[in-house]
């Protein structure tokens, strides 16, 4: 297997911090999506639809 071919590779200087960076970046990505999705999943305040309805009535009356 390719993985076993190079056991030294993993121990090479710089490879461990690189993995750690990847891990941290992935964690930040997960949290970022969570932060965004939390708002997406909130109920939309009535104000939004009220404003849109008023704008629609105005254009419908034209």
């Amino acid at each position: 297997m390719m993985i076993e071919q190079n056991p030294m590779e993993e121990r090479r200087k710089g490879s461990a911090p690189l993995d750690e960076t990847r891990l941290r970046q992935r964690a930040i990505g997960v949290k970022l999506r969570q932060m965004f999705d939390e708002v997406v999943n909130e109920p939309v305040p009535d104000e939004f639809l009220d404003i849109l309805r008023k704008a629609d009535e105005k254009s419908g009356a034209r």
């Binding site: 960076t21 964690a27 930040i28 990505g29 997960v30 970022l32 965004f36 997406v40 939004f48 704008a55």
Partner: protein, 203 residues
């Protein structure tokens, strides 16, 4: 989207077209709110911005081609509004740093999970253009090409902004490079790692 998608709207009267447009716009409101919230970091300011963008989109509905990417189109309207609001209040704001500090106070919600709070604080410290690019690609589900259209810049520019944003966020979170009363700043990265692990374990 293909030609068949456009054909669906071909025979519509202007009134029917408005109806279709409005239904699609309503479905996008949660996404507009999320984009505005993550962009500004302030819930009240964000909903004002999202409402402005929604009305601007409605008013401009005749220039929108049904069947094309409406999410990207409305996001573009929102970000343009964000920057024009920002330019108008430039004199009061003076420094980005001051705005960031105000945001840090505004997002201090005691109910919020710690890790998420840390990320909000760190996000507030990014330059607008980097934050925007990272949100679009990292959370909004846009491809680099779409994000470039939304931001009105080159694909390579978006890529480099996203990459710089990611690097900066990690740096801020690792260094705890922000003020929080009583909080152990250095714990930010640790709590985010733990929380992300918990989230993926749940899935």
């Amino acid at each position: 989207m293909g030609a068949s998608e456009k054909d669906r709207f071909a025979g519509l009267s202007p009134r029917e077209r408005d109806g279709v447009f409005q239904r699609e716009l309503v479905q996008l409101i949660p996404h507009l709110r999320a984009f505005a919230r993550t962009l500004t970091g302030d819930a009240t300011q964000a909903d004002d911005l999202a409402q402005d963008a929604m009305i601007k989109a409605w008013d401009a509905r005749n220039s929108y081609q049904l069947g094309t990417n409406m999410k990207a189109w409305t996001f573009m309207i929102l970000r343009n509004q964000f920057y024009s609001d920002k330019r108008r209040s430039w004199r009061q704001t003076q420094l980005d740093q001051e705005a960031a500090e105000r945001t840090l106070v505004a997002v201090d919600d005691p109910e919020a999970p710690v890790a998420l709070d840390e990320l909000r604080l760190a996000m507030a410290m990014l330059p607008d253009e980097q934050r925007e690019a990272l949100i679009l690609v990292g959370a909004g589900g846009f491809a680099y090409e779409e994000a470039a259209d939304i931001c009105g810049c080159a694909v390579g520019t978006v890529k480099s902004r996203v990459s710089r944003a990611r690097k900066a966020l990690q740096g801020i979170l690792e260094a705890g490079d922000y003020e929080r009363d009583g909080g152990e700043a250095g714990d930010a990265m640790r709590s985010i790692l733990a929380d992300a692990e918990r989230l993926s374990a749940v899935r």
